[in-house]
């Protein structure tokens, strides 16, 4: 049942967010502290536990895998609703910071792939995605 996977993901996310909020209250910060991280750890643990007990079916994995694959489109939607006009009005700082980080990361990628001959293909998206987000973050 695909809904089992979606439900597992939903429960982990909710538990993580609630625990993050609690941590925030305990630390006296008025925000969520590491909620998403806690949720991720919970999900990985739940998966390992279920695999050990043999409760993890293909369908169940598909329910979570679908949302994992939806991450990039969600980020695109996130980018499409950023307040870009104000960010650009704020002067060249944001643009310069973005271009600077792209250049630095590009150089680092080149450096790493020169020094390390191997199969570094899967690294690509992790290097590129943080570059795109700082623009929106500002």
């Amino acid at each position: 049942m695909i809904i089992y996977g979606v439900a597992l993901l939903a429960i982990c996310t909710l538990a993580g967010v609630i625990m993050g909020d609690m941590l925030g209250v305990l630390l006296g910060v008025k925000s969520n502290v590491g909620g998403v991280g806690i949720a991720m750890i919970l999900l990985i643990c739940a998966r390992l536990w279920m695999q050990k007990r043999g409760g993890m079916t293909k369908d169940c994995e598909m329910g979570v895998g679908f949302w994992g694959a939806m991450y990039i489109p969600v980020v695109v939607a996130m980018a499409a609703q950023q307040n870009v006009v104000t960010a650009l009005h704020g002067g060249p700082v944001a643009v310069l910071a973005a271009i600077g980080s792209v250049v630095v990361c590009g150089c680092t990628i080149a450096l790493i792939s020169r020094t390390h001959k191997g199969e570094p293909l899967p690294d690509e998206p992790t290097e590129i995605s943080p570059v795109g987000t700082p623009v929106g973050g500002r």
């Binding site: 993901l9 982990c12 996310t13 967010v17 909620g35 998403v36 991720m40 999900l43 990985i44 998966r47 994995e61 979570v64 895998g65 679908f66 949302w67 994992g68 939806m70 991450y71 990039i72 489109p73 969600v74 980020v75 695109v76 939607a77 996130m78 980018a79 499409a80 609703q81 950023q82 307040n83 870009v84 006009v85 104000t86 700082v93 310069l96 910071a97 600077g100 980080s101 630095v104 990361c105 680092t108 790493i112 390390h116 570094p120 899967p122 690294d123 690509e124 998206p125 992790t126 290097e127 590129i128 995605s129 943080p130 570059v131 795109g132 987000t133 700082p134 623009v135 929106g136 500002r138």
Partner: protein
Amino acid sequence: MWDLIEKGLEHNGLVTAFAFVGVIMWVSVVLSKRLTFGRIHGSAIAIVIGLVLAWVGGTMTGGQKGLADLTLFSGIGLMGGAMLRDFAIVATAFEVQATEAKKAGLIGVIALLLGTVLPFIVGACMAWAFG
């Protein structure tokens, strides 16, 4: 006629957003293949297109939420909102395979760390330089 279509799209905001983002992704994957021969990942181009569209939407409406200010694309606001974002991010952890991560090895860890730290340093330097 157009009124009818617009009404239909507005009433199904989230579905419209799925279709719209799907089209953006498709265009950017084609662009990535044709223009950059796969050097720049399609998703990166899609994010840039999203930002440009946010600028267009922002200048058109004068609002703060980019494209989501247009009622036609209000579904984008829901799709890119905090709820679905967190949900999708958590789901990505599921695809992490301990064995795959080990294959990437130390250099993978360093790349990941640098990918997070370097943009932060550059941003901090810019902020410091401009006061």
